[in-house]
């Protein structure tokens, strides 16, 4: 049948299982949008293309499917960049489709022409420029395959306006995908499995480091079975939270810069680290030279370029984690590590006294209380989407995730403004989930325009703004490392209750701890999006903290209640 490029594009996208895309129409995508109506795909119109990329990202992380964002050429495409870089750093599978000026204009600085494939080259897993209608079918199939397979990541397709309008005789081509330079290998090497089993049997103080790769590979059950059989405790990275239920007896908590002190101490004392789908980011290792000095290290990762990149390891199993662990398990014998587990537990108990939740109530509203109470009144079942900064770390510490893929946060890039759009994408993908946004007053304002999208789409998310009147995490660094010179961090914000109301949504202000419970229940009962403005203590710091470049065990601990 005769089809235009735009029709072919939609049919190929629909065949990839896409039901929703996020975007803004523009001059160079007019033919694509004009053909959209005939296909069973819902378009969420955003207010800024950064929001579209974050929504696609949030959708992908919540559903495990590929998220799709669409933008026009030039500024539409460049606005996607922050969202693409965010997805790239956190290995999130999204496909971005951008319109491009007609092929005969390329290179002549036409109106709204930008070299989008050039700009996004270092922040995409791969990208494509389609300037011929014949290329659409294969390119779309390749793009989705690359985005979702092996280590997932963002892929961009730039498509010229003439390729969208050109008509050809066309049938869907389903020939198996053949990419000579992209042939992911998912199986571990048998000899490596035996070697790993030997190292595991020899270990007295083993520790699993669970990263986002556990979730990508859906290896949660296998990892827990491994941990239980070998009595190995599990520590999680920020993006690995939820890969093991927080209430599991072998789960220790989050590692790294704002990880719990006993977790970091366990890493430093371990004699075997089993790194699963994590990449030894500087935020989890502290000073690399003194990192886990007593430990042999086994690195399980699908991406060979992560091996020996940050931390030199003794053995690498480059394969799919789920397959690797299921093949490794029969090689392992049940082990008892109770002395090691008791050592770690002893440290937990000492730390618990320092936890702000265990301090006497002074009537002040601390962010830690807010997040703890959200956890309590959502019964730990919410899909939590955070922004970046202090509130993000408090959320990581105080919201206890029992299920995988219930925390969505910008880890690698640390993108402020991520939370609201990512939450809308997540809600779109999981309409039955109770979605909560935890954001700071600073980050929220970066993408606050997407409240309009929530209102237009009737998407219900619950927004908790941890409002302390500062760019809080930077203020904390100024407090600790710049002698409290608070330059450019104090911030005057609009009235967030009125902002919500101006969008036809509900706004609530909370200034006392006693008001939190009511506010949460009222929010849960409200059919539309609610924004809660939590006016928290202005100058609380996030502890524990490993200063940048410090040794992992040299933590600034939480203050002890008797000393403060």
């Amino acid at each position: 049948m005769k089809k235009t490029g735009a029709q072919i594009l939609w049919e190929c996208i629909a065949r990839e299982g896409v039901d929703t895309i996020f975007g803004i129409i523009g001059g160079s995508t007019l033919p694509i949008y004009d053909a959209m109506e005939a296909f069973p795909i819902h378009h969420v119109m955003v207010r800024h293309e950064q929001g579209a990329a974050h929504m696609a990202d949030g959708y992908a992380r919540a559903t495990g499917k590929v998220g799709v964002a669409m933008a026009t050429s030039g500024p539409g495409a460049t606005n996607l960049v922050t969202g693409i870089a965010t997805a790239f750093m956190d290995s999130s599978p999204i496909v971005c489709i951008t319109g491009q000026v007609p092929s005969w204009f390329i290179g002549y600085d036409a109106f709204q022409e930008t070299d989008v494939t050039g700009i996004t080259l270092p922040i995409t897993k791969h990208n494509y420029l389609i300037s011929n209608v014949e290329e659409i079918n294969k390119t779309v199939r390749d793009a989705f395959y690359v985005a979702r397979s092996a280590r997932p990541g963002p892929v961009l397709i730039d498509i010229t306006k003439d390729a969208q309008t050109e008509e050809i005789e066309w049938e869907y081509d389903e020939t198996p995908i053949q990419m000579p330079g992209y042939r992911p290998d998912y199986s571990p090497v048998e000899g490596d499995l035996k070697q790993a089993a030997k190292m595991i049997a020899q270990a007295e103080r083993p520790l699993i480091l669970a990263g986002a790769g556990v979730l990508h590979s859906e290896a949660m059950q296998e990892m827990i079975a491994f941990a239980e059989k070998t009595q190995t405790p599990i520590a999680a990275t920020l993006l690995g939270l939820g890969s093991v239920p927080a209430s599991h007896p072998l789960y220790l908590g989050m590692m790294g810069m704002h990880g719990e002190s006993w977790v970091n101490q366990a890493i430093q004392e371990a004699d075997l680290l089993l790194a699963m789908g994590m990449r030894f980011d500087d935020r989890v290792t502290g000073n690399m030279a003194t990192y886990a000095p007593n430990a042999r290290k086994i690195h399980f990762d699908i991406d060979p370029s992560e091996i020996n990149k940050n931390v030199k390891v003794n053995l690498a199993l480059i394969a799919d984690l789920k397959i690797t662990l299921s093949q490794l398990l029969p090689h392992l014998s049940p082990t008892d590590h109770s002395p090691w587990l008791e050592t770690i537990n002893g440290k937990c108990e000492e730390s618990a006294q320092r936890d702000i939740l265990n301090w006497p109530d002074t009537g002040k509203l601390h962010a830690a209380h807010v997040i703890h109470d959200i956890w309590k009144y959502t019964e730990g079942k919410a899909l939590l989407v955070t922004d970046v900064g202090q509130h993000q770390m408090w959320a990581a510490q105080y919201y206890k995730h029992e299920k995988p893929n219930t925390l969505i946060t910008s880890g690698g890039l640390g993108t402020m403004g991520f939370a609201l759009p990512a939450a809308l994408g997540a809600k779109q993908g999981c309409p039955d989930a109770e979605v909560w946004v935890i954001a700071g007053d600073g980050g929220f304002q970066m993408t606050q325009a997407e409240l309009s999208t929530a209102a237009q789409e009737g998407l219900k998310v619950n927004v908790a703004i941890i409002n302390n009147g500062y760019l809080g995490m930077v203020r904390q660094w100024q407090d600790l490392f710049y002698e409290k010179r608070y330059t450019a961090t104090p911030m005057v914000s609009p009235d967030f209750v009125k902002i919500a109301e101006a969008h036809g949504l509900t706004g609530i202000r909370v200034t006392r701890r006693s008001e939190i419970e009511d506010a949460i229940h009222k929010t849960q009962e409200c059919p539309g999006t609610v924004v809660i403005d939590f006016r928290v203590e202005k100058e609380d710091n996030v502890y524990p903290m490993v200063s940048a470049g410090a040794d992992l065990h040299e933590m600034i601990r939480r203050p002890h209640p008797e000393q403060s």
């Binding site: 270092p122 897993k125 791969h126 053949q178 990419m179 000579p180 330079g181 370029s305 020996n308 990149k309």
Partner: protein, 173 residues
């Protein structure tokens, strides 16, 4: 230390940019880079010389493999390898000195490819050090202009860089 990598890539627009961008992004310096067709249609062959530590080269190879258009990377540094470089050197040569230069050309097995009244263009191929020493002996005559291709390399013996991926690459081409 200097490493020689042979990289086979899909012959498509923008692939050289992807490779060059990777070097820039990851902070590697390219000493020399040559690109041309390989024996397989649709597959280009790049020879790269990079000065770096063995650990960093190992990283670089993995990063190259992450590029979707890169089919194969071979580190020829520790193999017995034929390495060749081609240079054209335009040198001042009046009648009096022409014979002297021609003798040097003979010794180095170079070739005179252009003769003018007061200059010669000499073509020489060989390993890096041979070309270096030839340039040194020509310098006193006055080098007007010089161009060099950069290194191309091939492992000795019957194995081919492409042998493992031959079939699939042909399919794609």
């Amino acid at each position: 230390m200097q490493h020689t990598l042979v990289t086979l890539v899909e012959d498509r627009p923008g692939v050289l940019n992807r490779v060059a961008s990777l070097f820039r992004r990851r902070g590697f310096n390219i000493e020399s880079l040559t690109v041309g067709h390989s024996e397989i249609p649709g597959v280009s062959r790049m020879t790269m010389v990079i000065d770096s530590t063995p650990q960093n080269i190992e990283r670089l190879i993995q990063y190259l493999y992450k590029l979707v258009n890169v089919i194969k990377v071979d580190d020829l540094t520790h193999e017995t390898t034929m390495m060749r470089n081609l240079a054209m050197i335009k040198v001042s040569a009046n009648e009096k000195r022409r014979m002297e230069i021609m003798q040097l050309v003979e010794i180095f097995r170079a070739r005179i490819v252009d003769v003018a009244n007061d200059s010669l263009i000499i073509e020489i191929t060989g390993a890096e050090d041979k070309i270096e020493s030839f340039v040194d002996v020509l310098r006193p005559f006055g080098i007007i202009e010089m161009v060099r291709t950069g290194v191309i390399a091939m492992a000795r013996g019957s194995s081919a860089a492409m042998s493992m991926v031959n079939q699939e690459a042909s399919l794609a081409a």
